[in-house]
Symmetry: C2
Subunit: 337 residues, 2 copies
């Protein structure tokens, strides 16, 4: 049994050749932008090995096949496909959110304009389906179907995310639903797709999907905490990035909905417009913390992780893969906070 | 045997309930924007029946099953899927091209901003795969695979289209390749997908795909002629729309590549910047015409149609459906020029 960082690193090494082969099918310009986005080349085209992201989703996909008693290779096209869908969403979200940096580098839209990010994202989404369906496996169709349905939920989550920024009031339930769409859905599909490709029984697929859903929401809770209080050197994003766009992320939503003078003061700030200064952002981050937003988000993440563990413990899974999935989930939630 | 307009109208009526049912799966906001784009509702949400487009691709898909000797119903999910992919590309292309009107109405990005067009387009692309794979048919996987590969070519065509606007020199071959990607690929998939869903022999699928490819390039040649010389009242686009963005469309490419003083004058204009006036656009349209761009494009479209006919005549197809496909192809090419 390997530790979570070793598992992530192994999954990155396992999928990269297949991911590169898939990206190689794209036209010259789209391939260039995708390869830059994945950290394989510089903007000018020189080979490099920049941060490609943690590869949590491919790791879940590979473990998912093992959990169902199949060799991890069965899940390889699924692992590549979920990574492609994840990066499709990053490319489009960075553009829509106006984020100029990701993983300490300029974003694709910032370098090549909106059309570059739109088309490269589109291409990765289509490629994900192609990679799955090219296998010719009889289980490729249900896996591709799962991925298509998941993409719909992913989009719904991003739609809510953008809409909530424009609204004065958003309930905690709405925020959780948004996180379930934006993050839970693809984590869920990742944790299930290997079992689907392995032709596992419905109960096994469902337990893995439920685990992924809960880990996904827990991941988002922690990500939202990092989006407000995270160290830019670690997150690769500007400090207080989520506050700059007045995003009603999960800790904010909790703080706003608990009532009282701190909530009122916060609500008043979220109703203002204009570019906030560093001093102001520090003050607002402090308000959210004093209103319990940070503590609640971390406790809720822990509660979700317990539900995720229950889902796995209740299903007939390979014992080693189950422990690796649990360790990976904990690693995701416990990272740098 | 029905005439082409009747065939298009029949295909629109046949697919609309299934298309609406598919769009109904989307989240509230995305569904609203998609329904507006399809001409079913006004921007405010009131039911209407605005122009939904000609539905050429669904008509090809339905005829494709019949050509392979199957009932057209077999192709219904394919017809819906190609219409969804087509509209995904329209939503994204309108944003990237800065087109403010389509079918005499404001475009989605113009009404709801870039994020609306990006997310609604993404949703339609994912939905296309979902509609196919939800059928559970054993032929759904090859049909979905065809659609995913086609989307890659579609994107390649749009990438070329945007890139060519920035380049001083583009060959006619490059322009044709761009049209084959941007228009030929999805027309080809539309003309083949019904046969794929019907489980037709490879030779039948290939003949239909070749037919669609040629009709697609012919369609694009005519569309480019309309983009320069078309009547705004008929096309629903501003007059000289393709010249405003200095698009190196097919007639332009021919005119630029034939050499001589007219080509030089044109090349000089295409190297200028800034918003051109109406007078200037009329003069440039005249230059392209005198350089033979219009005549060449229409003759090339006719030549492609002859190749399309050859492809169908050489394959074992249902005779009635073959004649309808040929009539539909001619209708597409002969429209309003």
């Amino acid at each position: 049994m390997s530790t979570a960082p070793a598992c992530l690193s192994h999954s990155r090494v396992t999928i990269t050749p297949a991911l590169r082969a898939a990206v190689d099918r794209l036209d010259h310009r789209t391939r260039h932008q995708a390869a830059y986005h994945f950290g394989w080349i510089t903007a000018g085209g020189a080979p490099t090995s920049a941060d490609s992201g943690k590869a949590v989703r491919p790791a879940l996909a590979l473990l998912s096949a093992e959990a169902a008693g199949a060799p991890p290779e069965v899940a390889l096209p699924g692992a590549v496909a979920v990574e492609l869908v994840h990066n499709f969403s990053l490319l489009h979200d960075d553009l829509m959110d106006g984020d100029e940096e990701r993983r300490h580098r300029r974003t694709v839209w910032k370098l090549w304009g909106p059309a570059g990010a739109i088309l490269t994202g589109d291409a990765l989404l289509a490629l994900a389906q192609e990679v799955l369906l090219d296998t010719g496996l009889p289980t490729a169709a249900p896996a591709a179907r799962l991925l298509a349905r998941t993409t719909r939920h992913l989009i719904r989550g991003q739609v809510q995310d953008l809409a909530f920024e424009q609204r004065a009031h958003v309930t905690v339930e709405e925020c959780i639903d948004m996180a379930a769409g934006k993050t839970g859905s693809l984590m869920s599909a990742s944790a299930a797709i290997g079992a689907v490709l392995a032709g596992a029984p419905e109960a096994v697929v469902e337990a893995l999907a439920l685990y992924g859903d809960q880990v996904g929401v827990a991941f988002q809770l922690v990500d939202d905490v990092l989006g407000i209080w995270g160290d830019p050197a670690v997150t690769g994003k500007p400090v207080h990035s989520d506050l700059r766009s007045r995003k009603k992320s999960l800790p904010v939503s909790h703080a706003l909905n608990r009532g009282g003078p701190l909530a009122d003061e916060l609500a008043a700030w979220f109703a203002t417009r204009g570019e906030p200064g560093e001093e102001e952002l520090r003050r607002v981050a402090g308000l959210i913390e004093r209103a319990g937003g940070r503590e609640w988000a971390l406790a809720e993440a822990a509660r979700r992780m317990a539900l995720a563990e229950d889902a796995l413990r209740g299903a007939e899974l390979d014992a080693g893969a189950r422990e690796e999935l649990l360790a990976l989930g904990r690693f995701v939630v416990d990272r740098e906070v």
